[in-house]
Amino acid sequence: MSLVVPSWQVETRNKTSAPFGLAAVATVLLAFAVPLLVSRGVVQDLFFILTMLVLAQNWNLLAGYAGLISVGQQAFVGFGAYAMFACVILFGADPLVAVLIAGVLSMLLAIPTAFFTFRLQGPYFAIGTWVIAEVVRLLLAQWKALGGGTGTSLPREATRDMIGVGLMRDLFGMKASAAGDALTYWIALILMVLTVGFVYGLLRSKQGLGLAAVRDNEQAARAVGVNARRMKAFVYLAASFITGIAGALIYVQKARISPDAAFSVTDWTAYVIFIVVIGGIGTVEGPIVGVILFFFLQNLLAGYGSWYLLMLGLIGILVMLFAPRGLWGLFSDRTGIQLFPVRRLLRGGSLNRAHKGVPHG
């Protein structure tokens, strides 16, 4: 009789992840060339998609992984945007430098707000985040130097003389306005890649596993030694940093700000939730699928005025009822395909190698 010594392996990758990785790298490289190939309108559309994807990945991280259901992320979009405007208008900073400063300031804003909202549970947390966004909006609407309640514009020179614009004019012969769009697009692309990389890296790490445990059952997570509070605080701060940067970048491109637009709960939270929910909450792929769908729906329904919001809501509810894990979840369950696998599957030992794992979610 031979003695079988089990040897165990933990697998995370699967068949689709390697080819997908290559395809993703190729797509990103191609995406960098886009401003040289297509019209300004398309670049602006892609900028919109990229920034919405960044916001959606952040909301997904908060709600889908940390169980922090915020309806107040517009606080950080608007605050980041206003911080950028303040740096440019009051201190003459370069808009792109101001974007980074805005991210840091948004994270600083998250410290006192977390102090308040983390005392609230479940739906009260959601309401708390919304209240804070309203408070920040009302405060910034008092700031006369930045246009008060009616808002203001970035000085034309600021965007025209932005870092890199001159270089692109000389290299590609672009007009200042087209160069500005291309520049913000590239930064949005980099921000999106870094955000997806950060979220995926986090989920693959030990901390990501702990985060999933906290989301599923906080009491049990604490009982097995997970520092639930620290973990949630980290995610909340990281999300406000990235959301602040995204907000600032969006408003560099728009070049005009008002409190109502920058703190719009519809634009920066409702649409973002819609994207995550229809795509699939709790997966990295979900928001990617969701944002593409959202973009096409928006263009398709744009002519229907206020019916547009109603139809989006209806679609959101239908998806929640019939595909609770979103369209990506539906697809992934059927095909077993995962582009960003995070499951730790146990292989080897006495386990049947052919034994299929479950999809992640």
Binding site: A212, D216, N217, A220, A223, R344
Partner: protein, 239 residues
Amino acid sequence: MTILRLEEVSKKFGALTVAEQISFAVGEGEALGIIGPNGAGKSTLFNLITGNIAPDSGTIHFSGADVTRVAPMVRCLSGMGRTFQIPQPFEQLTVFENLLVAGSFGAGRQESEVSDRCAEILVDTGLIDKANVLAGGLTLLQRKRLELARALATEPKLLLLDEIAGGLTEGECRSLVATIRAIHAKGVAVIWIEHVLHALNSVVERLLVLHFGRVIGIGTPDEIMASREVREIYLGIEV
């Protein structure tokens, strides 16, 4: 050496006294059984020991340190492992991932360092075939086994088990007892709340009887079974 010592621990939920001046100690590597009718305060006593509930008065020492006001997470890191009477799995994680969380966080290690150990625990607790299944899809009995497996993965010095043998067949119960004896034999102290007396008595050195939040007896199983008060209250035998 004692690993756990409670001194005059009391707790009330409103007017209901669930722990009244409870004092006892458990030695390193000792196994103590806790019995008592439903509602006696047994699970509450576990929650006091692990820090899920703060006592109104009294002190709790663990491994030589006063942990009365210490968070559950920290108590886990210092070597307390527990099961919940109502299983609390991480439902959207697989069974193996449930153990990985406990192993890596509870024992303060990297995932790669604990994966073999977690797999072996799954073998020992009979869950290895379910390793890659979502914990949310397990039956109640499997969930109870997962509670035990997950507590073990934290590498406890003291293991608190809350009614994990209920509903088992004779054979399953025997294998559970064998598993717990093996853990105990490695020097892990065990406190086990259980109604299945024959299972309990084949593992523990001492029994503690809880009634309306009071300790009404503590001693060897033989002493306890011979006690008049215990027989009247707990076993319901008229003497």
